[in-house]
Symmetry: C2
Subunit: 312 residues, 2 copies
């Protein structure tokens, strides 16, 4: 594996079909499943590792976002990544950028309503990665369902000649969706946070059993979250997979999305619901059988619990 810090060097090393795996680092099994998918489908796997300031709002956790560049390099190497593109801020933003890539409407919903400017930061940096590395395929987790929809739309609207691949969520033992931000949680908080996935799984069962009323489905998730100590639900919503528009009835590919605060972290999760036969089938993701490597000895700093990271 080669480690690069400039777009030019990254492009020079990429040959044949190029699969891009954009990440913010602090890798876990979710990222590695993206790299696995890329390795199966592409000649060269390029993983980018960049904590993008443009997608963090005021008061969010940019400064404290967990980082572990050496650990990430070892994990990427083991996952078969060919080129790890780990630019400094000066390569990505040599001066304050005036240019923004915006995706109207889709960016205002769900997460967009809670995190103003977040998806413009995402769309801008992803467009930049696409423009600078010329991938043939790019891999994104289904965990960030709205992001996936926005990136798809951006790539199509701007005629980037590539395929966007959505990869199922990887879950910790017990169901919690993997996120680098889980590292903010104590073992007890991680246990409490399973309410999100437990609620979603219950709703997935209901959807597969024929329930199509959005209010009924979201109520199932909400009740499960609201009943859990230490979990503050923010929203539960059924949204169209294509554009994250709110749905009253499950009548097309969709995702059931939740957001909640648990201790010092703000967590999101979802299940995708795809038409199958006369009804719908849920993509529940994949559950690990052992503790995530997020919690391996030596990764990052000790847990931080004293304050809310998004208000710090």
């Amino acid at each position: 594996m080669r480690i690069t810090s400039t777009f030019a060097e990254t492009r020079d090393l990429a040959r044949g079909g190029v699969g891009l795996v954009p990440t913010m680092g602090f890798l876990h099994e979710g990222h590695l499943s993206l790299a696995d998918a890329a390795r199966r489908e592409c000649d060269t796997v390029v993983m980018s590792l960049f904590v993008n300031p443009l997608q963090f709002g005021e008061g969010e956790d940019l400064a404290r976002y967990p980082r572990d560049p050496e650990g990430d390099a070892a994990l990427a190497e083991a996952a078969g990544v060919d080129v790890l593109f780990a630019p400094q801020v000066a390569e990505m933003y040599p001066r304050a950028p005036l240019t923004r890539v915006t995706v109207a409407e889709m960016s205002e919903r769900l997460e967009g309503g809670r995190r103003p400017g977040h998806f413009t930061g995402v769309a801008t940096v992803v467009a930049k990665l696409f423009a600078g590395t010329h991938p043939d395929r790019a891999y994104f987790g289904r965990k960030d369902a709205q992001q996936l929809a926005i990136v798809r739309r951006m790539a199509s609207d701007l005629s980037f000649p590539l395929q966007i691949v959505g990869v199922p969520i990887v879950r910790e033992v017990g169901g919690l969706a993997l996120s680098s931000r889980n590292w903010y949680l104590s073992p007890e908080e991680r246990q409490r946070a399973t309410a999100l996935s437990r609620g979603l799984m219950g709703a997935a069962d209901a959807a597969e059993a024929g329930v199509t009323d959005a209010a009924a489905l979201t109520q199932l998730v909400w009740d499960e979250m609201a009943a859990a100590a230490g979990v503050e639900p923010e929203y539960a919503a059924l949204a169209a997979a294509e554009d994250a528009a709110p749905l009253d009835v499950l009548d097309r590919p969709a995702f059931l999305a939740v957001a909640a605060r648990v201790g010092p972290a703000r967590l999101i999760d979802n299940i995708h619901l795809d038409p199958a036969g006369d009804g719908f089938a849920a993509d529940r993701g994949v559950e690990l059988t052992a503790p995530s490597l997020l919690y391996r000895e030596g990764r990052g700093r000790p847990y931080v619990h004293a304050e809310s990271l998004e208000e710090g």
Copy 2:
């Protein structure tokens, strides 16, 4: 020369160093000078020909913008263009695009103030052409000085791996800067419209003689325009070449820009002023020695004079 209508086919035909010449068609000697520059510097010259609805405002001249696809193909062929990419609206915008590329601050000045949304439409379609055709160099006329600055900034901010080349203005006999919109003018109006370039040349002389006061330079141009019958000046301004910011003093690479209405058309022109020795040297552009091919028999429809095209 091959004529294509899809991005995929255009990319397939482009080999080696690719030079892109984006145009809205109705080609004149200004466009051909871009193709000449590209042919000297690139293995494959791709010219795009697309009247981009996104960069026309309400009440502007989209519907009447002059078109001559057969004439354009013959001229492009003669100019050594290898691939003429002439997409339909359905290839460029298969659905109403939600994505926009904006370049803050720079897009609000000068033309941006008069044509709200114009530069967002330009930046979006140019980003799309860059994303879809992977050029190594892209050629733009210095006539649209602010556009050139915005495109440079967009390409840099988004890490497109290409060089933007600015090419000097080509002028008709008598000095009028070539524009497809000159075709809206009667011979008499074209004569009147030389007030713009005459004023700019006077100011260029003054700048080369050491005048650096923006007010003095712009006054020279304004007076020349205001004295001409049938010319309604809109602005005369000295702006930094890098970001189109207004300058009080000529102390860096700059352009002196004017806009005016003449009969049914809204015209713009400028001279670039670049540091040279202790002072500044003006790029006055290149003057034709014979009537422009814009006025060749058989190009486009008969002149339209009855109404203002931007209010139609």
